[in-house]
Amino acid sequence: MSGQILATYASALSLLIGSGFITVGVIGLLKFNDPMTRLHAPTKVGTIGIGMLLLASMLHSFAIGSSSMHELLIMSFLFVTAPVSANFIAKVNIHRRTCETPPAPPRDDTWSTLNSPEAEITPAPLDPVKEPQTNV
């Protein structure tokens, strides 16, 4: 059963690589001192760290003879949801001004997070032609 032994070694190797990247991610989370740079560490854990652990799980399930495809689903759901949470943390940072204020966009007025609702509620000056009609 050399194939089984090979799969065991391969899953052990990917476990090592995955946990290595997760360790680096945690070091980054502890080391950086700015909320925005700190946000970069979890993206690493979320992609290659978890990916290698799931690959190890898949290789192991093939090695013991009961193949499993759930890991592919976990991976794809993680890839879809991880950017959303990262985006929300970044938006909170911009909103609470805990990071450098970003430069203004070239074409539009401002970034949507900095777009305060008060600016839109303030009424526009009424059209002088329509004004008598609204009073009637």
């Binding site: 980054g28 950086f32 001192n33 970069h40 879809v80 938006k91 966009p105």
Partner: protein, 167 residues
């Protein structure tokens, strides 16, 4: 006529396919009955929820999306190693984080979502915000000497390909 009937039955053909594949993967073993039931679910769910998602995506190239996904996975692995090296070797004082503004040529919300997701999944860059009318994307870079180079790379490497996927 046939085309209209097809889109009445399957408002989102790719969603139908995706739901069927996810159903088969969830069962963890393949059989014809599973596939048929997955297809039934894939027809019923988009049909029932089409009220909340009225617009059909105009054009979508599945084959190009597949090669794009392979390229992104390769980039993720490459960027992971680079960023891991930055985390370990660059001290905080020498770190050069930067905001990058990417002017968008993409118009469809789906395409912009995929682009923002790709940027976040690639370590070293996080997409933070969209301008209030959706013409530019704000990206935070962990460590770079050349912010304009990063912007041009994202535009040529990802956005140009996404323009060919979502037509």
């Amino acid at each position: 006529m046939v085309r209209r009937a097809f889109y009445w039955l399957l408002p989102h053909p790719f969603l139908t396919l995706l739901l069927a594949v996810v159903w088969v993967l969830l069962q963890n073993e393949f059989s014809a009955g599973m596939a048929v039931f997955g297809l039934i679910l894939g027809i019923i769910i988009p049909w029932g929820t089409s009220i909340w998602w009225p617009d059909q995506p105009k054009g979508f190239h599945l084959g190009r999306m597949f090669t794009y996904a392979l390229m992104v996975i390769y980039d993720i692995i490459k960027a992971n190693i680079e960023v891991a090296w930055i985390v370990i070797s660059v001290p905080n004082a020498k770190l050069k984080p930067a905001w990058i503004v990417i002017p968008l040529d993409l118009v469809q919300p789906e395409a912009i979502t995929v682009l923002a997701g790709t940027i976040t999944l690639t370590p070293g860059t996080v997409s933070a915000d969209l301008s209030n009318e959706g013409h530019s994307l704000l990206v935070h870079v962990l460590h770079t000497d050349d912010p304009d180079g990063v912007r041009d790379e994202i535009k040529t490497r990802y956005e140009a390909r996404l323009k060919e996927i979502f037509i």
